[in-house]
Symmetry: D2
Subunit: 361 residues, 4 copies
């Protein structure tokens, strides 16, 4: 199994490369009767789309989805939903010089090691282009979560370089706040500085990393399984499947290393007759199972590997050379990561939503 | 599927609770002909065992494994291997007062929310006791990796509280160095301070968190799958399945947030005729596929939730109360985490080892 | 994945050999709150047990189950249930001469071809001994089906050699009727002849095949999935996983080959206000989904391969030789197949019961 | 999981309905470096295509495949392969009157029971139209099997109604023989009578069932897993996933019911230095593992449910009515079943080929 399927009940299977005809996702496990059309998919695809603003790559892709199956008269049928997004902007000339050179930070070398050869037109299957159909599937998952349980999933940029946003209440961040600026940071002041930093990176022919925060509100207590399919484990995996993610933490995250138990434990209390905790250092999951508190996850995203300056590398036969990535790339991956992070969290939550339903009367 | 299975080809399925008859693992996918006996399992079980030193819980468990199947005349047969570890120290009296109170930081509340009731004798299925059979399975995975590919997996304590060890070359840390002190930190000086800090925690009826580092050397380039079963994703999930893990990062980890692409990219070069990189900020994985460099992962582990001081909480009916955990618990989870982290990494690597074999001539 | 797991949501994983310490099953996906004890497992285990009557093998096995996990205070907890059945009658001497000879009809040769060597003490993993834990898991599935939906699963012997029972209404056969004679045939007159035929086979040092029918009543319409996990496909696979099954058919089965559409179609009608069909040539499944009519499946079971007369064969090095199976074997597998067939059908139905629950509000 | 995925390592996931935009398959697990183009897919698609001859439906579908991913410069890349076949002949008017009536023998009623509503334009997801992408995937599997192991898979019509072909040596039947007549029966004389019978059925506005035989030659000993993923079990399931299959048997099949062990056992011998059996009543599988002998499976296929004569039925609200299927349907499903049966067998064998590779040095 070559790893193109994700999920147990709400399950997606994808195919496609950056410079092939297109990408496709088959979504299995969508319940019948959910209203769905391409209009549900377009907003998040638009947020992920290259060329959307001055802080992203200027490459153009319409990313127009076609629903091939599983929807009849505007409603899901309960059978598998296939969504196709064709590639448009296939300038393979841009990539001809990377045929024999290994781009630093990319999967060129590891793909050659794994398969014996590779599709050298851009990243092929390793390109982030494949995430467009994940975002489409995520939109379906969001619709299910919202319709059945009122669950919302919102992500935003928390940090770029040394610029860290102040977001005191992650669970109160709205989609509107996130979309109010082109870096997708709910701290408007910091957002301006982030835009400036990204433009500086482009001017300096460099790139910069950052941290995104992904938050789900409204998840009822009880989702997630003990032991291997803990919600934190499935969410952790989901985030690490996204390109450039180098670290994932939830709740207090790496901050727990220096904490004491007496400080770190969130104390149980009641609110409006429901059991809850006074703080949320546990990030909404205890024993890997949702507690009813907001689920809060952070992802560390590396600076774009493709930079338009000369870098030392080797050819596939090991000869020293240099490479300068000529393509049009994002100087910072964070703004376009936001819808991807949301999509993967929504897909995991939809899966565990269905799993929990299966065994409770 | 209630999440008691992990892996695709090298696959483990577990069952068992902290206070039931015992824990069992079924390991599917072990190749035939591998020499194996309980002697291969005992060393890591001993490292995970409660009561092993003064810095761990004083609870006693022999953790003696019995191989129920899959081994004949000292060799694996290629069929499923079952390993049973019976529980011995079942003092259920210790836990009688937590029947109706939710322990802060534990899964008591989320289990009740999920299942409607729970095994209240300790953590039941949510207890870290279940990890003993994972460690046994990890020993089998280690044997496979070592025998077939010379791969080694070694973990150690990197940080406890504010005490951070100096480990300049993770790939050179040996099992002997790790086992040379009871906190399992290869920085001997820092290890002494760590021991003192843990004893202080016990005296103060508190607990402390930390960071563990898990390293695999000898992994050939080409393991891992693109998209969903990236090696980083499966390893990330594996670590998050372990109790108390709140964050996972690999290579430069969260440090990438403040890095620039020109600094962060590891440049390709050759060494002894093989392609490699000059640095290892990528933690041995590019595009989710092993690069041949050491795989380096760090896990943030929270301070033990069970502390012997009064904490506010509620009963299952929401009434305010206090609880003080009377059981014998680790003041710091790090020393016993080490074999667990190794086991989960070995299980993931063994899985991807087999997966890579399946499709290459 | 070495094929020791079966099912999607109600999922069993097994391990064990005929002459090892024992067999174990881990059942994943059992809902919480179901009353369960070993007393629920014993009746079917007793029906499968060797040495139960004069028409079965005289080998003795107590087949006493131990529930290792997943049950607390008499109820399932929702976590994985492990059941262990230790082997008792391990007369390995009986099998010493088959170490190098391939028994006709057995898996000795194919195991050697697959694994390079084999556990030569009896069939090892290929022995029908492994089915004891399947029967235990089946008893859990039956309990779930009966408790939640009133579904019953009953199997019986339909034919042995040329002796075919007359069972006009499969859905009306009761467990009591089946258990009223030692061959488990609800046609009492034919049962007597079947007993005589089996005894004749034993006297003639030979064996005989037959057909078993497995029937589920009370299954609501709507279980099963389109395309690959059709109920007929999962039931078909389930039956073929059982040793000695050479053919599976449902409803009109192979009889459809000579039928015309105008005869074969079951016409829809209503009964007591519910939609049903006038006949049940479709065996309770249309498009692979349950129709609400009884599910009726038949399995063809080959005559026992082990017979106590000389048969030509070869050694593992290809030298001609003869072999006569000295062990104590069933002259006819049918009577003991009955609980196995029920178990596998119940496991499939429990799985699809949970799967259907997951996606319907 | 709604059952749209099949296989473990060589794994297909499909989507699509009879009257939607098209059908798509994602094939996961195809090794890298295999030569592949649409020309490899077309021959089998042509054999499955409606409208191919006078004995099939006269409905027209070009069934032109498009490879969307996973192939680069004429070779498979090792990543997932997506194949899209668009629907052309969508005369939804033909089906408007079946919106509220349940067609006998079809899944209309069971889909309504399962999902609450259905795509009433033909069978939707339950239509055999979905098999076109399975046949495309099967062509990929065949290519892998032939290239790596010289395995061939050939199916043919064995019986239609009472007309049973004489095929003394299943393993010697060639594709050319099968394709030499429009019913795909290698017994040329019987083929003529079969054509006449089918034409008679069309004239009588009726349909007829039959038996197909599917044969694989060249499969090495050792494929298949003990217990649940026996080759016979996976092949059995594969066949039962195909529409209209009511029974599956291998080797001596249901004939074993009346056989004695002394007759039924295939005796081991050697041929050209290799171990084999003198006869093949075991159909090429012992203990569920391939023996090296030809794998021989038979499928019973019911007469087409859609017949152009009035049949009694009910509406979705239970009111009595009659229905006569006006569409253009096959009077006999057998000729077009042949490539479907081959495809599913090839997919199972490719899967077990990869699985066996994973764990043997």
């Amino acid at each position: 199994m070559a790893g193109n399927t994700f999920g147990t009940l709400f399950r997606i299977t994808t195919a496609g490369e950056s410079h092939g005809p297109g990408n496709v996702v088959v979504i299995d496990g969508v319940p019948p009767g959910l209203e769905l059309s391409v209009d549900d998919l377009r907003p998040d695809l638009e947020r992920r789309r290259p060329g959307q603003s001055k802080v992203t790559t200027q490459r153009k892709e319409a990313d127009e989805p076609e629903i091939l199956s599983g929807v009849f008269e505007g409603r899901t049928t309960g059978t598998s939903i296939a969504i196709l997004i064709r590639n448009e902007d296939q300038r393979s000339k841009d990539y001809s010089d990377i045929r024999d050179k290994y781009r630093p930070g990319h999967a060129d070398y590891t793909f050659d090691a794994k398969y014996g050869f590779r599709d050298y037109r851009g990243g092929g299957r390793s390109s982030a282009r494949e995430t467009n159909v994940r975002v489409a599937a995520g939109a379906v998952a969001k619709k299910l979560l919202k319709t059945w349980h009122g669950v919302s999933v919102v992500a935003y940029v928390k940090q770029i370089g040394n610029l860290a946003a102040d977001v005191p209440n992650p669970e109160q961040v709205t989609l509107e706040q996130v979309e109010s600026n082109i870096v997708r940071c709910p701290d408007a002041k910091m957002a301006e500085q982030m835009v400036a930093l990204i433009e500086q990176m482009r001017n300096e022919m460099d790139s910069v990393g950052g941290v995104a925060e992904v938050v789900a509100t409204g998840v009822p207590p009880g989702w997630g399984e003990p032991v291997f399919d803990k919600l934190k484990a499935d969410l952790g995996k989901a985030m690490f499947t996204l390109p450039a993610v180098m670290g994932v933490e939830y709740g207090a995250g790496f901050g727990v290393a220096t904490a004491r138990g007496s400080q770190n434990n969130d104390l149980f209390t009641t609110l409006d007759g429901r059991i809850t905790t006074r703080s949320n250092r546990h990030g909404g999951m205890l024993g890997g199972i949702s507690s009813g508190l907001p689920i809060v996850i952070r992802c560390a995203i590396k600076p774009t590997s493709s930079i338009p300056q000369d870098q030392e590398t080797v050819t596939s036969s090991g000869a020293p050379t240099t490479i300068s990535t000529k393509g049009r790339h994002d100087p910072c991956l964070l703004p376009r990561f936001v819808p991807m992070g949301e999509a993967m969290m929504a897909i995991v939550l939809a899966d565990h939503c269905l799993r929990q339903r299966a065994t409770r009367l």
